[in-house]
């Protein structure tokens, strides 16, 4: 994209805000977000990423995007993964190794069942969502 003016930035913000919100709405594509700060990577997040990609490949699932994010703060259960699937509660999984990644694809994505013993909670509320900006 070329350099923006103030108006263009505001327009872009509205548009991308919509895009981000869409992931909550039914029927839209799902997202798997892997915590890939140094801490996550040190705990094996790259293998976790590989685990998700190969499991998705194997099952020929294409409507799920796999992206990365920074450290969520749950260092004691790294690698951490957020799974956002339509019609399912959004869940944070901790201690996700290759095997657990496969299990998440099979159970959470495939069968709509949460994977037991790996669910954790975000350590704090999202201030941005709550206040909705200024």
């Amino acid at each position: 994209m070329a350099k923006m003016t103030l108006e263009e930035l505001r327009k872009l913000r509205q548009q991308v805000q919509g895009d981000l919100q869409k992931r909550d709405i039914e029927g839209k594509d799902s997202r798997i977000i892997i915590g890939m700060g140094t801490c996550g990577i040190a705990a094996g997040a790259k293998e976790t990423l590989d685990g998700f990609l190969s499991a998705l490949d194997e099952k020929k699932i294409t409507n799920i995007s796999v992206t990365q994010t920074g450290c969520m703060g749950l260092c004691y259960v790294e690698p951490t993964v957020e799974v956002i699937v339509p019609n399912m509660p959004t869940v944070i999984y901790g201690k996700v190794d290759k095997e657990t990644a496969k299990k998440i694809i099979e159970e959470h994505i495939g069968a709509g069942r949460l994977v037991t013993d790996h669910i954790y909670d975000r350590p704090a509320a999202d201030i941005i969502k709550k206040d909705g900006g200024r």
């Binding site: 930035l9 037991t116 941005i128």
Partner: protein, 595 residues
Amino acid sequence: MAFRNYILVCGGTACESIKSDQIYKNLIKACEDHGIADEVQIVKTGCFGFCEQGPIVKVLPEDAFYVKVEPKDAEEIIAEHVIKGRQVERLLYDKSSSTRHARVEDIQFYQKQFRIVLRNCGFINPESIDEYIAREGYQGLERALFEMTSEDIIEELKNSGLRGRGGAGFPTWMKWNFTRQAKEDIKYVVCNADEGDPGAYMDRSTLEGDPHSVIEAMTICGKTIGAHKGYIYIRAEYPLAIDRLEIAMQQAREYGLLGKDILGSGFDFDIEIRLGAGAFVCGEETALLQSIEGKRGMPQPRPPFPAVKGLWGKPTVINNVETWANIPVIITRGATWFSKIGTSDSKGTKVFALTGKIRNSGLVEVPMGTTLRDIIFDIGGGIAGGKKFKAVQTGGPSGGVLTEEYLDTPIDFGSLVKAGSMMGSGGMIVMDEDDCIVDVAKFYLDFSVDESCGKCAPCRIGGKSLHRILEKITKGNGVIEDIATMEAIGEAMKKGSLCALGQTTPNPILSSLEHFKDEYLAHIEDKKCPSGTCKDLISYWILEDKCTGCTICARKCPVDAISGARKEIHVIDQAACTQCGVCYEMCRFDAIEIR
């Protein structure tokens, strides 16, 4: 939805010990009894970090948050909530006694953390500028460029009460204002990302998770003080943070949010990264500026302060990563919103890297005024392995240890100093009964002595002398006069050192002497290390009444210091023993004792 409801039962160690397993089983049974077993999934989870209210049961998708649940409540949760759709009021979390609230959106009422600095960490893809923009990103810059004058911005910062997060807590608006008022054509904006305290990784995580927040903040500062150039000084050992900063800066330039004529406002600002080689002293601002200039990183006398005469002799605002990450939020939301969080003299939040003997180690952001007890026992879940809390070290090598009696100290700049430690940049290392306080002090001294730049004598010689005395004490050669000598050297270093590194090097010793003098005396007078850490002061003995003659210790001993035939009592040859502790770890009958 595959299931009508998902019921999450906390299976953390704390909740597990108070019957969450029975609750789990009862919930499954209740579902079966009501014939809805295939409509509801009951799941065991990890620790929710809210242990004092446990066991916790969360029902999705309604997000009902039930606390202090008993096994007998399972039937009611299924019959009322799941089947009839009526939440079980009496079990919902009670944020105050008057109003009942359980929606997860109101999370700050039951979670002790509040995330301003880390607002985007773990939410956005740090390599996507669009995701940052979608979450209020560059909105502060918009305001700064088009709606506010420099005076407005300074006023907003002043009213926000923001103080520097690098350790000293200097009011940020004052720094900015000094530089703004300086009559020079060229000024600079610098980000101090030279995070060096052992066990601290707040800044690294912020840069890795949300690089745009720092870029936006520095640009806002440039506009405010009249600077067109910024530097981020970051250590080369943070490669991922550097990569993500580079990507973020490139994206910002493409969007016209960095570089010439930002958003068509006519204002120019750009940022360069400068890599540090990892010297601790380069986190000190004057040494850092020397290093950016390509010189050897050594502190310079202040005044003049960098705000007046900084990089290449020009007025320079230098703030730490965490301080920067607060700026866009303050400008976007306003000072009134920000100043509601925290205490009267310390506004906003503080990020801590909670490590050591803690169950849930992690990156923690809490409102100023939160107590150490809240952080260690609620958020951190207490001491790992059921051991006893001994002390917490805050402020890294410059800070001090705080004991149990300070657990209810609210964390802000003033209270921590009063308690004999300091805020520092945010490392928080928890120690349990197995840690030797003299050994911990020696660890920090090791670090500080290693990192002393050698320019001034109090730091160079004083640190070394202190270290030598500690070494002597841990080897059992200490004399009682050593304590007074250490105190005298420490006081001299505080007064005479050129920069904060030397001035604070004695802190771990002085504060541990204050709280744990007995432990020092045990080392010096009794030649004993009460926690069994200092190898020269301990010996291992086999208890005759407990030894079964299993031979495992003899087989594992690396120096063959243990003798004894099968089914006979074993003996350690004290002359050959190296106090490695392997036998102590291996023995399954508690037959080995430390004396």
